[in-house]
Symmetry: none
Subunit: 206 residues, 4 copies
Amino acid sequence: MGIVERKERQRESLRQEILDASREILLSAGYGQLSMRAIANRIEYSPTTIYLYFKNKDEILYHLCLEALERQFEFIRTAGCNESSPLLRLRATLRAYIDFGLSEPDRYQITYMADISRHVSMASILEHGGLASRLRELMCQRVNEVLVDAGCTRDVHTVSQALWAHCHGIVSLLIGRPDFPWVEREKLIETGLDISLNGLTRRGTG
Amino acid sequence: MGIVERKERQRESLRQEILDASREILLSAGYGQLSMRAIANRIEYSPTTIYLYFKNKDEILYHLCLEALERQFEFIRTAGCNESSPLLRLRATLRAYIDFGLSEPDRYQITYMADISRHVSMASILEHGGLASRLRELMCQRVNEVLVDAGCTRDVHTVSQALWAHCHGIVSLLIGRPDFPWVEREKLIETGLDISLNGLTRRGTG
Amino acid sequence: MGIVERKERQRESLRQEILDASREILLSAGYGQLSMRAIANRIEYSPTTIYLYFKNKDEILYHLCLEALERQFEFIRTAGCNESSPLLRLRATLRAYIDFGLSEPDRYQITYMADISRHVSMASILEHGGLASRLRELMCQRVNEVLVDAGCTRDVHTVSQALWAHCHGIVSLLIGRPDFPWVEREKLIETGLDISLNGLTRRGTG
Amino acid sequence: MGIVERKERQRESLRQEILDASREILLSAGYGQLSMRAIANRIEYSPTTIYLYFKNKDEILYHLCLEALERQFEFIRTAGCNESSPLLRLRATLRAYIDFGLSEPDRYQITYMADISRHVSMASILEHGGLASRLRELMCQRVNEVLVDAGCTRDVHTVSQALWAHCHGIVSLLIGRPDFPWVEREKLIETGLDISLNGLTRRGTG
DNA sequence: TATGAATGAGCATTCATTCAT
DNA sequence: TATGAATGAATGCTCATTCAT
């Protein structure tokens, strides 16, 4: 049955090539340039061939989102497991979130592209396999540990969302504005995390 | 010379109508729907007419960005001037940044839309009239006051950029993910600011 | 206002050219070959131009049907008015029906093309201006005169429909099977009418 | 040799399935929907397989026509053989023609579909096995009997063609315009035959 | 016998833009 | 100032067919 398997692998491989090509176009040239022809061009197949692997353009977008989310979850899931304190575990998780965005900027952005969410039911993706909610739970758990440990009474969901926002802000600006005169990237990230995490366990002003 | 002036005013008025129509389409339907015909339809003129006011579509986008930036600057500039302490002034400034984004989401997003920045030289916009740098300076000044006041030795640019990122994260997520189960908006914002500003003047972990 | 009128005429003229070209393609090459490109080719304009005159392909088909029906009605309406007897008037009307089909075979066939009726609401066309019902009424009236005159008790609607069918049979076969070894056309038509009309006023077998 | 025979039978069986599927699509959805993929879908084989049984789409159409004609001939051939008079035999033959069209509208229409005759050499079909000419001869023979019997001097070919046209008119209208407010079908058909046959043996006006 | 992979040609339609008026 | 006419280029998608297996 080696033949069947080889064919299977070939098929999967081209399918992945299509997704890769699409992602590359999406990020390098924008949603407006993501045409079936452009994809075909890049993978050096005819446009028709794409339809043998995906029903239509929207399905490509759907799987692009799905795949991006899966990668993100996998990347972040195990981060900080071995850290000794709740705060370090949380910090490692946030850092992993940022690192994923910076190391796979195309995949990161895809899940935030407005044009895509108009063509793909983001809801259906976000709930697929509970990926999104599992990520959210992971974050809440890490935050909760810290709050408990510090005897802090803040609402865990509020804090989680705020921290998510902070990290998203850093990633999306660094990715989206590459020409801006940023300070040294590592310093910016660590300072950002410092500020957020220092402030987390201290009595607030508001 | 009243006639010339009136004509000038009329001209300016239609020009503004075009920009308004474009911005509305951009936000309600997305960049993909922003066609010259769609704009023409909305202002109830022929598509050709638009070319009398703007050289081409990209020029519309350019002025859309410009105008958005001006509004943003105007909105933020005076915020917090009357506050009594450096920290409150900074907080007011950051809050104004967030409030602008939430009250004029269309204008806010325009300056961050990836599709647009591909058609418009963002650099030229950002430097136009020094708007961007003036905003940056304002922010740095506010941050500097706080750092000095607190005897904190952090780099002012690093902190400024981190805070900007935090605020941008909050705004862009709230705008971009309206369906997400956010905690109460006011609470999220204030908690976010608390965390950032509390952490700012405290000795960090990193 | 001469300019406006000239423009109006030009516009109407190209619109008609489009319809003519479409009809010609339809009949010479079949529905399957009726593409916007083919039409454009024939009128020597770009495909895009067609959309300035018709909203889409279906609208072209719709107007093609409409126009064909109008022509047919106009052609048949006055036939036989001056004839001296009811029978001669009916015969003239039927003959006009056949003659229309043979002299404008393309227009005749359009209203019977199955593929078209799948894209155009035939009902809406048939009832437009009551053209179809007016034609039906005309026919029934002519038939009724004959039946009354001959003291024949047949149902007028049944007879009308049967006669219509007979004429349609002659036209559609002569048009649709040009290569068949038909007897001399004039003889066939007149014999067909003879048979139908002779039998009409005679007591039937069934 | 049983194996060979079984294979032969299997082959013939799939071949027939293809024709059946094609005919069904043709009538239910129209020529425009008759694609190789649609056929393949319906017979639950791959599109490629069809090419093992038919050289191409046109060949399918060709055999569809052929088969339809054979069925029609078979249906009509024996009609009226037992009738006692020439007129009743002719009437039974015409009635059979109409009944075939109404009971197998798909097969009937196929031989008259304009789109098909563009892809299939109708001439070659009509002469295949002399089916068409044998049908014509049958009709002429039936007509001739009547004319002789009635001492009528009309040309037998002219009359045959006229009667064929009459019957075709009835069938094609009833099939092609199912939504038209027809009088009761049986009555329409019998009246049509009455008129045609009554008029046949009576001295004409033309 | 049967099929999956692949493709070139074609389709209806939309868009930004130009031109003459 | 404003527009109607026109177009070339592009888009997503379908189809009949071929080829290697």
